[in-house]
């Protein structure tokens, strides 16, 4: 038998955020606001504050006009100004064009028809003259592997937009980084500026250890939409403003799971069901006291029950959905203490609002019409039997549900599902995609299978679009037309950050050519220019996704995985 190989157990900080911070830099940062006000003794020995600074931060330098973050982009880090100033654009926000995004318009009937004969014969043909056409912004190389996009005319921006100036010691981007929500404003450098970028893991640990920082973040979080979020939640509809304010004050903001789940996705996909489950942090445990209603603020959570020595997924919850309300309502109505009937786990990364039971009993349940209260809970045995495993109320077979959750396909708002029992492999879907994208299909009719269903390699236009994190030019963004994730070919610099981030391998890097079929080369390196490409859900076509409309056998559907009843209907048509 071969001898095992001994290595050091991988540690959290094996891969620091950026180039190694020198001791002088670390000590310098520790003198800055807000770190100088933090008590190092409150940090654990395993994660001292100095080590967080050393490993979870990096120094970033920007020049006048460089865009640091864009409104509506996703990010996983916050920034603290070390030296210099930045401008936060409040209103009106910068135009899509200035931010490097695509401003797609629907094609007219004749433009659509023209595609019949105007599509090039060579793949990935582009007009090279259009790449220099943008004049309001430029891009410049910073170091060896960083590109900064800058505003050409900063005075004009300042004249037409209201801005707020932030100086040394001030922080921005923390809510978007912790809450996995889009950035709320664009920030650019006002003169040369030095920033400390702090990745979310460090932010999370500081928030956990430092009361003042936690209160600061929670205060910002409450200010920025928590009340609106609670008001839009069906459970709290109809409550008065004062009740809502009280609930918001008492509600706890919690985060679970791994922000960087996509980096482990492929490895986990090969693991056993038990191993995958073990990686998902428990938010609420079946059988424990229901101490609050859990509202999913962002991300996904798996709802499961114990069966034998494993767990069976019975549903998944996404943004706006609640867990634990049935138990709390039951206990309030019947003066009992029924525990949580299910386990709730973070799938990837989840933001949760925990509304305490006492608050529910004081403000929500007494104001709720009796017909809206959930039915009583019937007592359930300790652990279910595998013989009890059957189709859940959702109408989706247990195995299918496990497959969709474990592979994180629930992230998709337009997941391409193919019923292979009806698919005649004619590739009309692929041909239709090519016909509407200049002769280039934007998906592969191939992918993981469960039973007779296949999830094809097509962009799912995720709820949590990890591909959008880190794009240096803002070329990948959500469309203002319908929220689709789209790539602006004009501003894509071919860095492949999005393609490497996509856990589902649905973004392809392609070498582009001119209309004569010759490769377009970088004049400096003589190497082909590459662009990121993917499904855009036929955003510019009149009839919606051509792949779905072209399938003659009802075999292909773009499914919004948040809509479980629609998914169940489609799966159960046979």
């Amino acid at each position: 038998m071969t001898e095992p190989v001994l290595i050091q157990r991988p540690q959290r900080w094996d891969a620091p955020f950026g180039p190694k911070m020198s001791e002088v830099q670390v000590q310098g940062v520790l003198q800055l606001e807000p770190f100088c006000n933090m008590d190092p003794d409150k940090f654990s020995r395993a994660t001292p504050l100095a080590d967080i600074i050393r490993n979870d931060t990096r120094i970033r330098n920007y020049r006048n006009g460089d865009i640091i973050v864009r409104a509506d982009d996703y990010g996983d880090s916050a920034f603290i100004v070390i030296e210099g100033k930045v401008q936060v654009v409040t209103r009106p926000g910068l135009s899509e064009r200035l931010l490097g995004r695509t401003t797609t318009k629907k094609k007219g009937f004749f433009e659509v028809l023209r595609q019949l004969w105007s599509n090039p014969r060579d793949p990935e043909v582009r007009d090279p003259t259009r790449y220099g056409a943008r004049r309001e912004t430029g891009s410049r190389q910073h170091g060896t592997d960083e590109t900064h996009v800058f505003l050409q005319d900063v005075p004009a921006v300042l004249e037409h937009h209201r801005t707020v100036r932030l100086g040394a010691g001030e922080m921005f981007g923390e809510i978007a980084a912790l809450g996995r929500t889009p950035r709320t404003a664009t920030v650019f450098a006002d003169g040369d500026v030095e920033l400390l970028e702090l990745r979310w893991q460090g932010l999370r640990d500081i928030r956990r250890r430092d009361d003042e920082f936690r209160q600061h973040v929670d205060h910002l979080y409450r200010e920025r939409g928590q009340k609106e979020y609670l008001r839009s939640t069906p459970l709290f509809r109809g409550l008065g403003a004062s009740d809502l304010a009280k609930i918001a004050d008492e509600t706890l903001f919690e985060t679970y799971g791994d922000f960087d789940w996509h980096t482990k996705y492929k490895k986990l996909a090969e693991a056993s069901a038990a191993e995958r489950l073990a990686e998902e942090p428990v938010i609420a445990q079946e059988g424990s006291y229901p101490d609050g209603v859990l509202l999913i603020r962002s991300g996904f959570a798996r709802v499961s029950v114990q069966v034998g020595n494993g767990h069976r997924t019975i549903s998944y919850l996404g943004r706006g959905q609640a867990f634990g309300f049935e138990e709390i309502a039951h206990n309030w109505r019947f003066d009992e203490t029924v525990p949580y009937q299910r386990t709730l786990r973070a799938v990837g990364y989840v933001d949760v609002l925990r509304v305490p039971t006492s608050i529910m009993e004081e403000y929500v349940l007494p104001n709720m019409p009796p017909d809206q209260l959930p039915p009583p809970i019937e007592a359930r045995g300790a652990a279910g039997s595998v013989a009890d495993v059957s189709d859940e109320a959702s109408g989706i077979k247990p195995g299918m549900l496990e497959f969709l959750v474990e592979n994180r396909y629930i992230n998709g708002t337009a997941t391409m599902l193919i019923n292979l029992d009806r698919c005649v492999r004619c590739d009309d879907c692929v041909k239709a995609c090519a016909a509407t994208h200049g002769g280039n299909p934007r998906f592969n009719r191939h992918g993981r299978r469960y039973g007779r269903y296949m999830v094809a390699n097509a962009c799912m236009h995720c709820v949590d679009p990890v591909c959008m994190i880190g794009c240096p030019t803002g070329a990948i963004s959500r469309s203002s037309l319908g929220g689709q994730v789209v790539i602006n070919d004009d501003t894509c610099i071919g860095c492949a950050t999005c393609a490497n981030s996509c856990p589902y391998d649905n973004i392809r890097m392609v070498e582009i050519r001119n209309d004569r079929g010759a490769f377009i080369l970088d004049e400096d390196t003589n190497r082909p220019i590459v662009k990121a490409t993917k499904c855009d859900l036929c955003i510019d076509q009149m009839g919606g996704p051509a792949c779905q409309r072209a399938c003659p056998h009802d075999a292909l559907e773009r499914v919004d995985m948040r809509d479980l009843p629609a998914l169940a209907d489609w799966l159960n048509r046979e």
């Binding site: 659509v112 029992d421 005649v424 004619c426 009719r445 007779r452 009149m542 009839g543």
Partner: protein, 273 residues
Amino acid sequence: MKFAARRRRNLAITIAVSAILIGAHAVYTAALRDSAFLSGWLLLATVLFLALLNIRKKLPMLPVVSASAWLQWHIYAGWISIVLFILHIGIRFPDGWLETILAGLFVLVVGSGAVGLALSRINARRLTRHGEEVVFERIPVFIATLREEADALVVRSVAEIGSTTIADFYATHLKAFFDGPRNVVRHLGQSNRALFTLLTRIGDIERYLSPKEREVSAELLDLVRKKDALDYHYAHQATLKAWLFVHVPLTYGLLIVAAAHLVLAYAFTGGVS
């Protein structure tokens, strides 16, 4: 809507439309009008509508009815065209040579359509249940890869083991099998006789092999199974594509002969219409 419910609804509509057509034809005949013109025009219009599916498929970018809805209309209009055809010619064999060709083409188009519909339902399910999903155009590449692996394995067995038993067997019984898609008809008939025969033959030579050769033989056997799975996919996917090469050209032929028939019918109508 569930497929069964849709099928029931569409079938009910088809039966109702057919009944109306039969009734209208009977009334027309009872009124001593030449009903052949009525049924002929309706039949031609239906066939033209049926032919539009192919054009719709060529224009996926147009925001018109989805291909699946169009195919449903195509299928049920196809059944209605059979009713119209019977109303048009009656229950008899056509007499003139042009009419015979026309009727023959119609029967072939309808027959190939019905076969295609059945294949679409049967072959798709069979492919789903038979191994990994393979893109048809990639099958020759995969076969070539398997062939190269098999060739390399055999060459290695000669070089390393110094025996030609497996090489001789390969040249006699397996080389042709790995050269390209094989046993199409057998696979369509769900017969695994070809594979069984090959596996039996490989089993038969086991007694002449050394332990090292048996390892090579086991690897070869694995390649044979993979190749057989590819052949299965090739047979079923090729059939799914091939029936359209019969159905579509015959439809165009039918339209041309129908146009000639229309001209002749009016030319020799003698003023009766």
